[in-house]
């Protein structure tokens, strides 16, 4: 585009790219350090471990009981995805199609859980869940994770539904479609790409959601990321390589779904959800 070729401008461009490169190198270093350590036998005072092995994965799988942890993780995550999909898409449909009194308040109620950090509302929520006996259970963790998940689906889906012309639905009505067939044959196919993107993002976010799960999970309802936290917290009890092997398992699980999600969304969308609405609120 418009390129300033003076020396100062070139130096400035170089400095900017240098900062980016420095950040990316350190970031890759952090992730690679976990990966390398999990495959190393002994790593003390050298650049790389003395030799390579995969045995830490077997010991981590045994010590941290990763099979039940993974099963519970996916049970929780998929329950959250299904419920937030059902509730979120219907709410988003109503908010996208109708203008009713008090709508701003409703939008605000969906916006706040995304703006307030989880720990701030997580502590009273967890206290309440323990009070009514849901704390430490499967459904307690699901309930806590729904708080950011449903608004996320709503705010991703509203602009998506708004861009579907309502005349398509009216035309289907004119031709005698019932509500069921209108939904199944007209709306669902049109909504599917948006729903897929929103739900995959919810899946990734719930997999990585530490705070809410940490506050509400009991021994049998821990997700992988909470189990990882406890392992790192109690480091010294287990071999660090074993903990890093578990971290790699967590990383692979999350990245697998992230890669799928990135087929449907732009990386900036993961962060900049509903930015327009944020600016208005």
């Amino acid at each position: 585009m418009i390129r300033d070729q003076s020396l100062a401008a070139r130096l400035w461009r170089f400095a900017v790219w240098a900062v980016v490169a420095l950040f990316v190198v350190n970031l890759i270093g952090v992730i690679a350090a976990v990966l390398v350590n999990s495959f190393g036998t002994r790593w003390l005072g050298t650049w790389l471990p003395a030799a390579w092995t995969t045995r830490w994965y077997f010991s981590a799988w045994r010590e941290f009981q990763l099979t039940p942890v993974l099963i519970v993780t996916f049970e929780i995550v998929f329950t959250v995805v299904v419920i937030s999909g059902l509730v979120g898409v219907t709410s988003a449909y109503a908010l996208a199609r109708r203008d009713f009194p008090g709508k701003r308040l409703v939008v605000l109620a969906f916006l706040l859980p995304l703006l307030v950090p989880p720990l701030t509302y997580g502590i009273p929520l967890a206290t309440l869940l323990y009070r009514i006996g849901l704390g430490g259970t499967f459904w307690g963790v699901v309930a806590a994770n729904l708080v950011p998940a449903v608004p996320f689906v709503v705010l991703v889906m509203i602009p998506f539904i708004e861009q579907i012309d309502p005349r398509v639905e009216q035309a289907a009505r004119v031709f005698g479609a019932s509500t069921t067939s209108l939904f199944a044959r007209i709306l669902l196919p049109l909504l599917l790409p948006g729903m897929l993107a929103a739900l995959l993002l919810v899946l990734v976010r719930t997999l990585a959601m530490f705070e809410l799960t940490f506050l509400t999970a009991g021994p049998t309802s821990q997700t992988l990321v909470v189990a990882l936290y406890y392992a790192v917290f109690a480091s010294g009890v287990r071999a660090p390589q074993s903990i890093d092997a578990m971290a790699v398992v967590y990383m692979v699980t999350t990245l697998f779904w992230l890669v799928i999600a990135l087929q449907f969304v732009n990386p900036t969308q993961i962060v900049a959800r509903a930015k327009q609405r944020t600016a208005d609120a």
Binding site: V19, I28, V30, A94, I123, L125, K275
Partner: protein
Amino acid sequence: MAAAAQGVMRRPPLRKRLAARGLDGTTLLVLPGIALMLALFVYPFAYGFVDSITPREGPWFANYHTFFTDPFQYRTIAATLWLALPVTIINVVVAIPIAFRVRLMRRQRLLTTILVLPVTLGTVLVADGLLNFLGPQGWFNRTLMLAGILGAPLKLTNNYWGVFASLVITGFPFAFLLTLSYVTGIDPAVEQAAATLGARARQRFTRIFLPLLLPGLAVTFCLSFVQAFSVFPSAVLLGAPAGSTRVISIAAYQAAFEQYDHSLGAAIAIIMGLVQLVIVLAILGLRPLFYRGPVAGTKG
């Protein structure tokens, strides 16, 4: 009879009147969502507030009194601000020039994908990685020693700097991606027009882009700050949770789930929310000073 019929004609049935105001069967679809938010977000907040003013003993403000008279507790506010404010300022300020460069990049996707990794993986994994990476024998210290910058390894874990690093690693990509989405929303024609009229790069930035960008930057700053302020796992794992990085979320967690005083825990959580609110309102209070209007060029 005729009068009654007229009355009916003048007043359409309730269903029609509600539909005219936007309330019909479709609107009711929002109810499950609202019910869920009321039950899981609004009610717990109200419950937490009432819980915080009904302490185990003493007057209603006993919990708040405890917090603000115990230096071990009230110093967590300063400790958290001392982490969150510098980190947020650095993240947002560094994100701006980089977003302006990346905006011109043709293949942004690879960079944005790499940067989205720490945001997605979360602070627990980053903390685990940093414990090794920044440790006395980690690659960071080794590289600096190899380059001759350091004589002996720096202590970067289990103190302030460990938490600082983790907040930069997860917070910078967040601030950057948000800024990038605002920067790419500005019509490039505006810059071209300024350049045609003879504005230099610096002038184009300070006179054209910055005013257009400020509202977005304010939001970015608020969201980044709120995230940094509620730092928890990395402050425990990478910091000194009993010392310099005893942040307010640790205090709230310990009160609620280690001392089993949920009333005090709720009070600290509310204080935490209020401090965030004060900073956010202070930033958003500056917004009337900013330009508000279209970010796209007009026709002609």
